[in-house]
């Protein structure tokens, strides 16, 4: 489904990686590892089309992602370092906006359920600015529950989460991969992922 051919990325004058090739069929998890500054985030941002690449191709179902444009973005969900939630809106409102923009507007019940499953029952209608870091992250991660995108690109999704939430997120990723989805993630900690096919990519080695 996702194929990367001879990818090269630069930040400023520094070449982070070149001739990077991998191929991910459906039902695969790609665990990107590497020390700080080895280009993990750059790779992920290139994969979602935010960054211009120096050379190489990124193909989704055999077509270049730049040419696919909106069709690719519909199939992809990116979760970056920034949570991407508005601090003046509450959890439900944040989730409603992102679900509508993702093109699958969910009924309010589903949104409440998603936040409930993320362990935010009772916090749904508080502005997210009064929540803790971990809770904000949970609000942002609730998108994973309402999205139908087959490709998840997650940059450090486990940071700031407590052990319960880490387990929950691990389960979510495993379910997604089991269901034939794709996940690309960077993390420094080991994640208990038993199911599905796991590929590892070491950057800057």
């Amino acid at each position: 489904m996702l194929d990367v051919v001879d990818l090269e990325c630069r930040r400023g004058d520094r070449r982070l990686f070149s001739d990077l090739c991998f191929s991910l069929p459906g039902g695969t998890l790609l665990h990107v590892r590497g020390r700080n500054g080895s280009g993990k985030t750059t790779l992920l941002r290139a994969l979602c089309g935010l960054l211009a690449r120096e050379a190489g191709q990124i193909l989704w179902r055999g077509e270049d992602i730049a040419a696919l444009g909106e069709d690719y973005r519909r199939d992809m969900l990116y979760f970056g370092h920034l949570n991407g939630i508005k601090s003046d809106l509450n959890g439900i409102e944040n989730l409603r906006v992102s679900a509508t923009l993702d093109g699958d507007p969910a009924p309010d019940d589903a949104l409440w359920q998603a936040l409930g499953r993320m362990g935010l029952a009772g916090y749904e209608d508080l502005p997210t600015k009064v929540l803790s870091q971990g809770q904000k992250k949970r609000v942002a991660l609730a998108r994973l529950l309402v999205s139908r995108a087959p490709l998840w690109i997650l940059d450090e999704p486990f940071s700031a989460l407590d052990s319960d939430a880490v387990d929950l997120l691990g389960t979510l990723i495993a379910e997604h991969v089991d269901g034939g989805g794709l996940a690309v993630l960077t993390t420094h900690q080991e994640v208990p992922l038993t199911s599905g096919q796991v590929q590892r990519l070491q950057l800057g080695a």
Binding site: C48, L50, L51, Y78, L89
Partner: protein
């Protein structure tokens, strides 16, 4: 499409309502700048009538500029802008929705305040109507052009000053014809319609081109 447009519009207006000070500062800035001139220049009717249209329009430009900086900056900082551009929605549509919200909050109120302000300049009744009409057509142009500048200066340090330098020259045509329409309306035998039509033409041009240009600029800013 409409659902997405309304969703973003509603979001931005909800956000602004929860931070009302931002909207109110723009309005009060406009009111105060416009009210300072009669105090400084004196109350001679003839002088005020000559100054009035220009002052109101210049103040409208500056007030619109004041709020522009925040148009994309807040969304850029918390990552929501990134998320929006990564959805399957056309970026130009999202931009248009955000600019519409910006105009409803900072442009439209000026239209309704302007006649009250105009009274300080002793403008005749008809001129007030023309001033409202010119602001109604002109202020959306300001928001649309300004959005391009706001997107281009996104993430830069000292972007605010650069934004003014980029955008104010582009505001000149709207200023000339907007203030011109009001001035002309006070002359007998002169027709204001060509002025308003020209601003209308600017509006159509900005409406078609600005969202596309802004969306392109935002993509660059996010790299």
């Amino acid at each position: 499409m409409l659902r997405v447009f309304l969703c973003v519009l509603g979001r931005d207006i909800t956000l602004a309502m929860r931070r009302r000070t931002d909207v109110l500062t723009t309005l009060f800035f406009f009111i105060i700048v416009v009210s300072l001139f009669p105090l400084g220049v004196g109350t001679e009717k003839q002088t005020l009538r000559i100054l009035g249209p220009g002052v109101v329009w210049v103040a409208a430009l500056l007030a619109s500029m004041l709020a522009l900086e925040r148009l994309f900056a807040a969304d850029y900082e918390d990552g929501t802008l990134e998320q929006m551009l990564l959805t399957a929605q056309p970026p130009a549509l999202l931009v248009l929705a955000k600019v519409t919200a910006h105009w409803l909050l900072t442009g439209l109120p000026l239209v309704f305040i302007a006649p009250l302000i105009g009274l300080q300049y002793q403008l005749p009744g008809e001129a007030l109507w023309i001033m409202m009409a010119s602001l109604l057509i002109g202020t959306p142009v300001l928001s649309l052009i300004g959005a391009i500048g706001a997107a281009l200066t996104l993430g830069l340090r000292g972007g605010g000053i650069l934004l003014s330098l980029l955008i104010l020259p582009l505001y000149i045509p709207v200023l000339v014809y907007g203030a011109g329409a009001v001035t002309v309306s006070m002359i007998d035998l002169a027709d204001t319609q060509p002025y308003l039509s020209l601003i209308g033409a600017f509006l159509l041009l900005a409406l078609t081109l600005s969202p596309l240009a802004t969306a392109a600029a935002l993509r660059i800013a996010l790299e």
